[in-house]
């Protein structure tokens, strides 16, 4: 097992899947000659050539649609968005073309396409470059949505996404690209739709995904100092949601806090809370709490930005609240 960055784990997944299946190709802005805006595609142009590592103009709607058409023609495109903020321009193709093709064709046309790129806020990039789109994506029937938090999950989920015959949204994190972790060599697959307990506990479940895993883990450490044993459940997939894992953990701890990067209104946490109140109502000892980005566009000022984001302190506080410790 090697220690890799999240970036290099994604790169390994792309490389291995492109070696494995010649129908897999990568398309997006700066993916080739420039080696990727965030260097996820480093070295791929040299290994696979310009036919399979395709630099595009800045035209998200157009190249997302060309990817969809290529998938209709039997290829397995991986479409890289420089960030998901720009993917908003391609929403028509993701929602109206990719997600619905199988259904509206009466099951005739598979859509084996991956849309991937960094999602959510980095540091001081302002309102238009600091957005977490998972609740938009997870809202759409016909799409799968994954959101890996660790290098190992990044590799395993991207490989699963590329092999899937349905459109898969892969939400990466700009702030995660340098994160290091152990990654199994070679054939390492993480199935889509499986959450993972990243820290075991018995007093409260902290439900998180992507960048908020680190937030929840730090909160769990803070809580441990107060003798609170927090369990950290990393959703990893947002559609399908691993309902079994969520309910199992909540039935054990009887208390939950849902943490996410996105805004609170109609967010992923709302979906998780709906599940818990419906299927684990009698197991709950307190109302579920949520920690989100503040319900405002992201400010530029670093103090305001910090105040807007989910933090270990906010999560620990929410946990203490569900434990009636404050």
């Amino acid at each position: 097992m090697a220690t890799l960055t999240y970036r290099d784990a994604l790169n390994q997944a792309l490389r291995e899947e492109m070696q494995r299946d010649e129908n897999v190709f990568l398309m997006g802005e700066e993916v080739g000659v420039y080696q990727g805006a965030y260097k996820v595609s480093r070295g791929l142009l040299e290994e696979f050539g310009p036919k399979r590592v395709v630099d595009t103009p800045i035209a998200e709607l157009g190249f997302a649609g060309i990817g969809v058409g290529a998938a209709m023609g039997g290829l397995r495109p991986v479409i890289e968005f420089m960030t998901w903020n720009f993917a908003v321009l391609a929403m028509d193709q993701i929602v109206n073309s990719a997600a619905k093709m199988l259904y509206m064709s009466g099951g005739q046309i598979n859509m084996p396409i991956v849309f991937r790129g960094p999602n959510g806020a980095a540091l001081q990039l302002g309102s238009q470059h600091s957005q977490a789109w998972e609740s938009w994506m997870a809202h759409i029937p016909g799409l799968k949505v994954v959101s890996p938090a660790t290098p190992a999950d990044a590799k395993g989920l991207l490989k699963s996404a590329i092999r899937d015959n349905n459109p898969v949204i892969v939400l990466e994190g700009e702030m995660l690209y340098n994160l290091k972790g152990e990654v199994p060599d070679g054939e390492h697959i993480v199935p889509i739709g499986k959450a993972e307990v990243k820290r075991e506990g018995s007093d409260v479940t902290l439900i998180c995904h992507s960048k908020t895993l680190a937030v929840a883990m730090k909160a769990a450490e803070q809580l441990a100092e107060q003798d609170v044993k927090a369990e950290v459940l990393d959703l990893r997939s947002l559609r399908p949601l691993d309902e079994h894992a969520i309910l199992e953990s909540v039935r054990k701890t009887n208390r939950a806090v849902v943490v996410e990067e996105g805004w609170p209104h109609a967010g992923i946490g709302a979906q998780v809370v709906d599940l818990i109140q419906r299927d684990a109502f009698d197991d709950l000892d307190a109302p579920v709490q949520r920690v989100n980005q503040a319900d405002v566009p992201m400010p530029y000022n670093k103090h305001l930005e910090r105040a807007a984001k989910a933090s270990p302190e906010k999560v620990a506080q929410a946990a203490r609240r569900v434990l009636y410790l404050e």
Binding site: V54, P57, A71, M72, G73, L75, M104, I109
Partner: protein, 336 residues
Amino acid sequence: MTATARSAKPAATQSAVPPELQLTMLRQMLLIRRFEEKAAEAYALGKIGGFCHLYIGQEAVGVGALAALKEDDYVICSYREHGQALIKGISSRAVMAELFGKATGCSKGKGGSMHLFDAKKGFMGGHGIVGGHIPLGAGLAFASKYQGSDKVSVCFFGEAAVNIGSFHETLNMSSVWKLPVIFLCENNRYGMGTAFERVAAVTDIVEHACSYDMAAELVDGMNVLTVYDAVRRAVERARKQSQPTLLEVRTYRYMGHSMSDPLHGVYRTKDEVEEQKARDPITHLAGKLKEGRVIDQAGLDAMDAEIHAEVEDAVKFADESPDPDPEELYTDVMVD
């Protein structure tokens, strides 16, 4: 460039098209006309729901273009696609049943008028968002080229789609990447109730090809043979040179934008519609073939009767077909 756009005039040249092929084209145009008339009736009776966009008046475009293709070439369309679906080889029964929303429809009753599909026949759908399928047409050509296949892709869209971003993004990439795709703009002059010249700064659509260094032709869409010729040239350019083409095919729809829209009134006059009907592509070709003694009136009548019977049979089939099983609601969302 085939036609420098500034001087573009519809090409007058016509190669000799074998009489048998002309008869086939006549029959295909008549099939579309009669099918659509029947669809209008069924819509009025409430057998067809939702939106239903008829192709009456534009038959020469789909028929002429598809005659220039090989069986396995790709065709992708907007929501005004009943005609192309029928000519690409989907049976009248399967198309009518789809309009009726029945399980026997070409999209299992889940697509409807705007989403006809038969992937095995290379008919890659009717798509409902104006301009949304233009990049898909280029993507199919991208796949062909990637796979080393000689399949070309023909993407039909209306003139109103030319104002949308995906048209421009796609033409640019198709030219840069030399994709074997034909962008076939059916200019029927109105986006719903808005005359093109009221909302477009450049009204000769072929001129947009200049911006993308792409071959282009202006084509008379009321003459099936002219359409056939132009598309043949574009197909050859795509298949042999892997180069895209933009065709502006000038045509006219006799009906309203959809079945729920008026034929004329606020946005165009009845006189204008009647004037255009005098250029009818079916009447024109039938007259020419009669003149050339390829067919006589009795032959035309027999052809029409046969088509009537086919369309009646399609309606009966659609009417008697079952609705999709209730369980179908949840199938085809994802594959395993």
